[in-house]
Amino acid sequence: MVRYQRGDREAFALLVKRYNKQVYNFVLRQLRTPALCEDVTQDVFMRLVQNAAEFKHEARFSTWLYAIARNLCIDQLRRLQHRRHPSLDQPLGDSTETRTLGDSIASDHHSASAERSATSSEVQVSILRAVDALPDDQREVFLLREIADLPFRDIAEITGVPENTVKSRMRYALDRLKQALCEFEEYARALR
């Protein structure tokens, strides 16, 4: 970011390459509307370009970037407030299409990362449903922690709540996921 502030546009390309996947996934899970998340992700980076000169390096770059992403998602969610977002079980495309959004996410077409990949699409769909079912504040904390890999202190800074509140929300989110994934607990034990 320092290089980009000095006018090095190659540095911006590096930033995009490094962060666009995580930001895209954060936006995707926040909005739950794949059609919008590409534009919103692009807006996140454009907002970064516009405000690059104002970034003072007092916080981590990723914290600043996800703060922008979060604000844009909140704006977008307000616009979509009265719209029904597509369900994971909703068929994609026209009525003849039988694949659902959940299937699409879990499909081989979108390759999962090696470290975090779940081994079965069934588990993935259940996870995504459980995450989507989380209350907004818990889902937000869960995504910032799991996708953006931000420490609790930075999440507290982004969301504007105390760090203990962030941990409490994360704990509730994990408890809800645990309940949703209890049927796969045997599998989890096998993982260990």
Binding site: R9, F12, E38, Q124, Y187
Partner: protein, 365 residues
């Protein structure tokens, strides 16, 4: 560590945000507490199983972002571009290396600015020092003063009648002081010469201010002519209304120390510098007086002729000039006699210093 504290830090433990000591304590607690062990393992399993798979964004996204960034930079208004340039410059300017370099340049520049050039031949100034240095003057004071230069007051006969009183009156008008004060120097000087050190100390202690006319006058009156001269000269150097009088008084102090030989040229200086003031006129009169006493009649005439233009001094100057003319005629006739006699003994000096020449009475401040 107890279970309550463990519940507070379990998430930090799960995500590795604990310091080493607390993490070790938490792990020791888990080994002994089945409840906390269950909580910890349950959360860990949930996290592992519930890990979200990251979806790869479309390839067009990255290209679209870079293209949008390029377009945005092209469309950036001039103000924004300037702001960005300033921001970039500010980033550089805030670097400590640049700050150090700027400070170094500033120091070099300021040192060059304040560096004084060596004096050249053109810039040198010729200074003529007149008078006697203070230390030498003090030395002169120790030596006995020649008797003819300090005649008794009663013997001041060659001067025209009433001249003295007119001069004093002029000084009195100038200083606007009571006439009693003008009589003080003599009395105080007498006391001082008697060696009354205690009175001298008392006078010094009574000085109102180190740089005032009163202090200088007190020094003069107590016979400390070196100090009086210095103080009067300082006052004259500062300029102002008191400068002419102070300059005249300084010469009076010199006259008290070195007699007419030292004072006469200084009187002339004061006259030239303060020509249009009463002190300047008085200085001319005193210069004429000194030159007459020294036998330098032409210079005395020159000084006295300058006073013909001053109404207060005109009559006195005319009388003195007449006297000078008479003396010059005497000297001329004496030379004729000497030339006629030929081998006769040497005539008396052409301009012997008159025994009855008397220095002017010091002006009262």
């Amino acid at each position: 560590m107890d279970c309550e504290k463990f519940d507070r830090i379990v998430l930090d433990l799960l995500y590795g945000e604990l310091d080493e000591l607390t993490e070790a304590a938490a792990k020791r607690h888990i080994e002994h507490c089945s409840r906390c062990k269950g909580v910890s393992s349950g959360l860990r399993a949930t996290r592992e199983v519930g890990a979200l798979a990251l979806v790869d964004p479309p390839d067009s996204l990255e290209l679209g972002i870079l293209e949008a960034e390029r377009r945005m930079n092209e469309k950036l208004p001039l103000g924004k571009r300037l702001g960005r340039a300033v921001s970039i410059l500010a980033v550089y300017a805030m670097r400590p290396q640049l700050a150090m370099a700027a400070l170094l340049l500033l120091m070099i520049g300021s040192s060059l600015f304040f560096l004084r050039a060596r004096p050249s031949a053109q810039s040198s100034v010729l200074v003529t020092e007149r008078g006697i240095p203070e230390t030498e003057t003090e030395h002169v004071m120790i030596q006995p003063v020649p008797a003819p230069r300090e005649p008794p007051v009663a013997a001041a006969a060659p001067r025209p009648a009433g001249a003295k009183t007119e001069a004093v009156a002029a000084r009195d008008r100038e200083t606007e002081k009571p006439s009693e004060v003008s009589a003080a120097p003599t009395a105080v000087k007498d006391d001082a010469t008697k060696g009354a050190a205690s009175e001298g100390d008392a006078l010094a202690a009574a000085e109102p201010a180190a740089d005032s006319m009163d202090a200088a006058t007190a020094a003069f009156q107590s016979g400390r002519y070196v100090e009086a001269q210095r103080r009067f000269e300082e006052i004259a150097a500062r300029g102002g209304n008191e400068a002419p009088r102070a300059a005249l008084q300084a010469v009076e102090a010199i006259r008290r120390q070195g007699g007419c030989p030292a004072a006469a040229p200084r009187y002339q200086d004061v006259h030239i510098r303060y020509r249009d003031t009463p002190s300047g006129s008085e200085a001319a009169w005193q210069a004429g007086d000194c030159y007459r006493a020294l036998g330098e009649l032409s210079r005395a005439r020159q000084s006295l002729e300058a006073l013909l233009e001053v109404p207060e001094y005109r009559s006195r100057a005319q009388a003195a000039l007449q006297e000078l003319t008479a003396r010059e005629e005497q000297v001329a006739s004496a030379r004729k006699v000497k030339a006629a006699v030929g081998a006769a003994p040497a005539a008396p000096p052409a301009a012997p210093p008159p025994a009855n020449a008397k220095p002017a009475k010091p002006a009262a401040p």
